[in-house]
């Protein structure tokens, strides 16, 4: 009985901590160019072009060669503006930065939130100006 109790406690300690399933370190992900995330790009992420933005519901429609897919953007979704193509530093973005026609890569959350983006990398069609407030 003691062992069973012990098992429960430790499993709870290990599993119920916030973000326990978020194994990949997100901080350096910001600097990894769109399409180059190791073990994710080309395997589990969605790469396509923003076909529509629904600001009130904070949803995107992303067009891919396989068809369109709806993406929910939550308060916890990290958004990064990938400017590495223009040899500029990548920035932290906001929902407002997600514009129709921009190329994006989306990593979805796991479990019940499978429509919610965990992170979105957005590649602007041309180099935007620096915005220190968002760095």
């Amino acid at each position: 009985m003691m062992r069973a109790y012990l098992t429960k406690i430790v499993v709870l300690l290990a599993l119920l901590s916030p973000g326990a399933l978020a194994l990949g370190q997100q901080q350096t992900e910001r600097y990894i160019p769109l399409g180059q995330s190791p073990g994710l790009s080309g395997k589990v992420t969605l790469i396509g072009e923003i076909a529509a933005v629904d600001a009130p519901s904070r949803r995107l429609t992303v067009a891919t060669p396989q068809g369109a897919r709806s993406v929910k953007v939550s308060d916890r979704t990290s958004i990064w503006i990938d400017r590495s193509l223009y040899r500029k530093t990548n920035l932290t973005g906001r929902f407002d930065d997600l514009k129709t026609g921009n190329k994006v890569e989306v990593l979805f959350a796991e479990g019940a939130d499978r429509q919610v983006a965990r992170w979105i990398k957005m590649q602007p069609p041309e180099p935007p100006g620096d915005s220190p407030a968002r760095r």
């Binding site: 003691m2 062992r3 069973a4 109790y5 012990l6 098992t7 406690i9 430790v10 499993v11 300690l13 290990a14 599993l15 901590s17 916030p18 973000g19 326990a20 399933l21 978020a22 194994l23 990949g24 370190q25 997100q26 901080q27 350096t28 992900e29 910001r30 600097y31 990894i32 160019p33 180059q36 995330s37 190791p38 073990g39 994710l40 790009s41 395997k43 589990v44 590495s84 040899r87 500029k88 530093t89 990548n90 932290t92 760095r135």
Partner: protein, 456 residues
């Protein structure tokens, strides 16, 4: 030209021809060995067009793939470890040179890069030995001190990508293709293969038949789930937790290290934000490290808070651990409500056990290196010398670890002989195999001093 000379040269040429023709044809190279060798080359020499650092800048092979202040003190000022001291673009918010030199601590921006002066943590360099046994958990791979060290899919293979971005950059802009280049898929494969090849490939099976009575008692306490309780989170002195038959793999726990009083870095007046561990925001948990390799890879814990293995064991008898979530969980299961209660002699006994299994692992590695060197041909002298150098270094580590705990003086004496013999053999080209066999025989004597069954 004198006739004698011509005869001599012809004789040498004939001997060389006969020797060569007598050599069996070499088998084709093992693809995995080739991949590991490539990974080794990348690990120690590839800068990824960055600031000059390599993986080996911090994970020093001569320090068991970690880093400590006493070793740092031996490095020249232009070592790439110190780029923050001589590259103007990295002067601020890239490292804290004072804490690096004093405590071997490295700066990490684990909670983001948007507020560099205020959002950072200072961590020690974890060794990369025994990774084959210490990465997998029930929730996926765990890398680095808090288990979330790798970007992308979080696997060990992806780890180098994050490391290059964090530690190799030329400027804090961190622009791929400008400040560094990211590793290719092939390089990630090779780096992973190399790292997985280091150290133990499997866990021990405890108990061992230890001869030293203090180490033997330490092993008993370690394995006693009602006394030392160590084996609950370090099964077989490894990096996996097992509770009531439920294996959690390489789990994370909040053991309260951050709450230790009188930490060295608090005493020198540097402002360091608390380290919240896994995730963002962190949940205060850190990853279980393997213990077999602990005794020669200090300082200990994610912030290098404790210098000695005895001190690291004693941590679990203190208030910081006993008041931590992990400590309280243990206390709830104890009939007397205690988490871990040990006396000084018991703490030293557990440390003696850890020192002994560390030394046994050093000897295992040393013997493997010697055996590999013995299998090399006449024309592979340089490779043999390299292997002998590493074998000698492992023996040296074993001697230091045992002597540091006042353990097994006879084993230490044999280890001195091993070091001396291995050094001598490195200078030998003819009869190398027989000489190496003598070194291995000496190492067998060391094992026999430490464990009853030398095959254990």
């Amino acid at each position: 030209m004198p006739k004698g000379n011509s005869f001599l040269r012809a004789g040498v040429a004939l001997f060389a021809l006969i020797s060569l023709s007598a050599c069996p044809p070499r088998p084709p190279p093992d693809p995995q060995a080739v991949l590991i060798a490539k990974g080794r080359e990348i690990f120690f020499n590839e800068t990824f067009n960055g600031n000059g650092r390599t993986c080996g800048t911090c994970h020093r092979e001569e320090r068991n793939f970690t880093l400590d202040a006493s070793f740092i003190a031996t490095l020249p000022d232009n070592d790439p470890l110190f780029v923050a001291e001589f590259v103007p673009a990295l002067k601020d918010n890239f490292e804290n040179p004072r804490l690096m030199r004093a405590f071997g601590l490295i700066l990490e921006n684990l909670d983001g890069f948007d507020d560099l002066p205020n959002k950072f943590v200072m961590r020690g360099v974890p060794h990369v030995l025994g990774l084959r046994t210490s990465v997998d958990s029930n929730q996926g791979p765990r890398t680095g001190w808090s288990g979330d060290g790798a970007p992308g899919d979080g696997r060990l293979r992806s780890f180098a990508v994050g490391a290059v971005i964090q530690h190799f950059t030329r400027t804090l802009n961190r622009i791929p293709g400008v400040d560094f280049r990211l590793p290719t898929e092939e390089e990630l494969d090779a780096l992973e293969a190399f790292q997985l090849s280091l150290g133990r490939q499997q866990d021990l099976t405890l108990p061992l038949k230890l001869k030293n009575p203090v180490a033997k008692r330490g092993q008993e306490i370690f394995l006693d789930d009602s006394l030392g309780k160590c084996n609950l989170c370090h099964v077989n002195a490894g990096a996996t937790a097992n509770f009531g038959g439920a294996s959690l793999g390489n789990a994370n726990f909040n053991t309260g290290v951050e709450n230790l009083p009188d930490q060295p870095l608090d005493m020198i007046g540097e402002r360091v934000p608390p380290d919240d561990g896994f995730g963002r925001p962190g949940d205060g948990t850190f990853n279980i490290p393997p213990l077999v390799e602990a005794a020669d890879t200090g300082p200990f814990f994610h912030n290098n808070a404790i210098e000695t293995i005895e001190g690291a064991v004693a941590f679990y008898d203190g208030e910081a651990f006993n008041n931590s979530p992990a400590g309280r969980a243990l206390a709830r299961l104890d009939p007397e409500g205690n988490s871990i209660e040990l006396d000084g002699t018991q703490i030293v006994a557990i440390a003696a056990f850890l020192r002994t299994i560390n030394a046994l692992e050093n000897i295992r590695q040393s013997m493997a290196l010697l055996t590999e060197a013995a299998g090399l041909g006449f024309f592979e002298h340089e490779r043999a010398v390299e292997l002998l150098r590493r074998a000698s270094k492992e023996a040296d580590d074993a001697a230091r670890v045992l002597a540091g705990g006042g353990l097994s003086p006879r084993a230490v004496r044999h280890l001195d002989a091993v070091r001396r013999l291995a050094y001598d053999v490195a200078a030998v080209r003819f009869g190398r195999r027989d000489s190496i066999r003598r070194v291995i025989a000496e190492e067998e004597k060391v094992r026999a001093e430490l464990v009853e069954d030398s095959g254990a």
